[in-house]
């Protein structure tokens, strides 16, 4: 598991280089062949027994912020990159750009709020980052328009087998993919670490175009609303119930025969799994399954509570089930029909 290292790296969409460099160095250590394509996807090839061309995809990028303006007093305005809920921005520590300049996003004091304002989220255009400078000039020496911003949130193991980190969506998938590549299985597959998923699966599309897979598995961190006050049928996925299989979401109607096969394999190997019981959200499968003449795709995900926030939570046990399931699925697929 490479989750601690991977989640503590910065990789807002379009600025994945820290994650890419880490993955490249791991692939060198493993001794796995790889190339980097024109958009920055890392495409690794695990050579082995082959029946069809299999593509596994996990995206390197995370949601975050981008610097859009520096005001006359040196405060920094920003825009979201990917799906950032304005409600999570209040009172946060952030790091800006390659030099990781520390900053904070504050909020007006509660003492100065009207009763109506209390508890309400502040629209992004009213928020700003404070890096402790006193002038525009001072800020401009450290920060530029276009610098990306990530949340400062360390990897923590807590409770009974849970982890908390930022960017579990989708460093979890990247970590699973590195685990699978480290195993040196006698199973042929392409492990693709994609860029720009959160801004429209740009990387996955071109990677799939280049590879022309027969079969793709998307490795994701996915929505989990396993919280008090939520009915079980609205939870989407549950923490601790195993790998999540997608049936349909906003980007893909998954090939039902392939989903059933995955289900059967999970049963056969005694691997915990669950169905993702919502059609909202999308992932790289949307781009991959309709590239060129199309391909079969499934998505196997790790349930992440508070996804897209600095305090995303997942279960180590679920993670292990995701690794075991994908390993079993690719092995079975390369055995031949």
């Amino acid at each position: 598991m490479f989750l601690k290292e991977l989640t503590e790296l910065s990789g807002v969409s379009g600025y994945e280089y820290e994650v890419r460099n880490y993955i490249k160095s791991k692939l060198d250590e493993i001794g796995c062949e790889y190339k980097v394509d024109k958009l920055g996807n890392v495409i690794a090839h695990n050579k082995g027994k082959k029946n069809k061309k299999i593509m596994l995809a996990a995206h390197m990028d995370e949601v975050g912020l981008i610097v859009s303006h520096i005001d006359s007093n040196g405060f920094i305005k920003f825009q979201p990159v990917g799906g950032v809920d304005q409600r999570i921005l209040n009172s946060k520590s952030v790091l800006i750009g390659e030099n990781k300049i520390p900053g904070v996003i504050g909020s007006k004091a509660i003492h100065l709020m009207s009763a109506k304002e209390r508890g309400k989220s502040i629209p992004i255009d009213k928020l700003y980052i404070d890096i402790g400078t006193y002038s525009k000039k001072e800020t401009e020496e450290l920060v530029s328009i276009g610098d990306y911003v990530v949340f400062k949130s360390s990897y923590v193991e807590f409770g009974e087998g849970l982890i908390k980190a930022k960017a579990l969506d989708d460093r979890a998938g990247c970590s699973v993919l590195l685990d699978l590549l480290s195993m040196k299985l006698d199973v042929d597959f392409y492990g693709v670490f994609t860029v720009m998923e959160e801004v429209g699966s740009r990387g996955a599309q071109v990677a799939a175009y280049g590879l022309e897979p027969d079969y793709a598995i998307v490795l994701e961190g996915t929505v989990c609303v396993h919280m008090p006050g939520v009915k079980e049928n609205s939870m989407v996925t549950l923490i601790g119930r195993g790998a999540a299989l997608s049936l349909m979401d906003s980007s893909t109607v998954y090939d039902i025969d392939e989903v059933r096969k995955v289900e059967n394999i999970a049963e056969k190997y005694g691997i915990s799994y669950q169905f993702r019981t919502s059609t909202s959200g999308g992932n790289d499968a949307g781009a991959i399954h309709k590239t060129k003449e199309g391909s079969k795709a499934v998505a196997i995900s790790l349930p992440c509570r508070y996804i897209h926030s600095p305090v995303s939570v997942a279960s180590k046990n679920d993670y292990d089930n995701v690794v075991r399931l994908i390993k079993a699925v690719i092995s079975e697929n390369q055995k031949g029909e």
Binding site: H111, R118, V311
Partner: protein, 346 residues
């Protein structure tokens, strides 16, 4: 040293009513400069520097901070909680927390992700009862670790921003406890005739209770009350004080005008930057209780400008803390050389 003290004090918990747990830390920092210390019945810590006269000057800065208190242990390791002191529920979303149970328990406060939330719900006001701490334990295990009534704080590592600006939870009012530390250090070097009492007061955030008992006990001739004030940000009115420009002294209906003017005069004489603000009535600080203690105590109120008050990213300039601490030492020195009868008469 000030930054070291602030980082250490802000990393621990001093939730109102639970200040006693980490009081040892104050002793560690104050004892080298003071002659005696005690913890009073409410939980305030009082450090004393002995003087040569019978005059008593009390400095007061509250040691307590806002926090959370566990109200219920739920299925799947979730906790319901209430706030201790004034907290905007919106500032609690997506935070790490530490629950001070049998041991320190890590948890997070999260919300449903945007994927499953209708747009109109996102702009709805959050209430504390809508939020939960997620501990990752089963209910059975959690019940052995956490009890109803345990307190929690947001877990935020203090961070150094540019220059001497820092950001952390609980700088309200550790910033001013640090001011007292600086004054104690200074007065340890330059002589003073008055007896100086440094009161790190308890329970300010829940209603200025600690300073009331502490000032009764000390019965000071003069009170110097220290708290944080609103610092300038883009959403604040133009009269707001700026970080880095020194302490803010308050003029107002409840404060002693002669002493206030004297403090400004001392700042001008010794070249300490100073900012002024008008607080017509209730100051919302320990000055409220200190002033009306026993037969009355003439008070001045100084504040350190702070941004994002009562959030976990409160931001100050440590330079202001240092300036304020030193200016107070000079002020006391000047008072010692003044005619108190004249100074305090009307």
């Amino acid at each position: 040293m000030l930054k070291e003290f602030l980082f250490e004090a802000c990393s621990n918990q001093f939730v109102s009513g639970f200040e006693y747990i980490n009081g040892y830390m104050l002793k560690k920092y104050f004892e080298p400069y003071t002659d005696s210390s005690e913890k009073d019945k409410i939980g305030s810590y009082i450090f004393k520097q002995n003087g040569t006269s019978d005059k008593k000057i009390m400095l007061a800065a509250h040691i307590d901070e806002i926090g959370l208190m566990v109200t219920k242990i739920l299925e799947d390791g979730f906790l319901s909680f209430t706030s201790v002191g004034g907290i905007n529920p919106a500032s609690l979303v997506a935070q790490d927390v530490i629950i001070y149970g049998k041991e320190k328990i890590f948890g997070v406060i999260g919300i449903k992700p945007p994927h499953v939330i209708p747009k109109n719900e996102r702009s709805k006001a959050l209430k504390i009862k809508d939020l939960y701490i997620d501990t990752g334990y089963s209910k059975e295990k959690l019940e052995n670790l956490v009890s109803i009534g345990d307190v929690a704080t947001i877990k935020r590592d203090p961070v150094s921003l540019q220059g001497s600006v820092i950001s952390s939870k609980a700088l309200d009012d550790k910033a001013c406890v640090a001011v007292m530390l600086e004054t104690a250090k200074e007065l340890n070097k330059i002589s003073h005739k008055s007896n100086i009492f440094y009161a790190a007061t308890a329970q300010e955030e829940t209603g200025c209770r600690g300073s009331s008992a502490a000032s009764y006990k000390i019965s000071p001739d003069i009170g110097i009350v220290l708290d944080v004030g609103f610092g300038m940000t883009p959403d604040m009115p133009p009269e707001t004080a700026c970080l880095g420009n020194g302490p803010v002294i308050a003029f107002g209906g409840r404060l002693n005008l002669k002493l206030t003017k004297k403090f400004i005069e001392v700042c001008h004489t010794y070249n300490y930057s100073i900012q002024c603000e008008a607080i017509p009535s209730d100051t919302g600080t320990d000055a409220e209780s200190v002033q009306i203690n026993r037969e009355g105590v003439p008070c001045i109120l100084l504040s350190i400008p702070l941004r994002y008050m009562h959030t976990s990213v409160e931001t100050i300039d440590v330079k202001d803390v240092e300036t304020t601490g030193r200016a107070i030492a000079r002020f006391i020195n000047e008072l010692d050389n003044s005619d108190w009868g004249e100074l305090l008469c009307f």
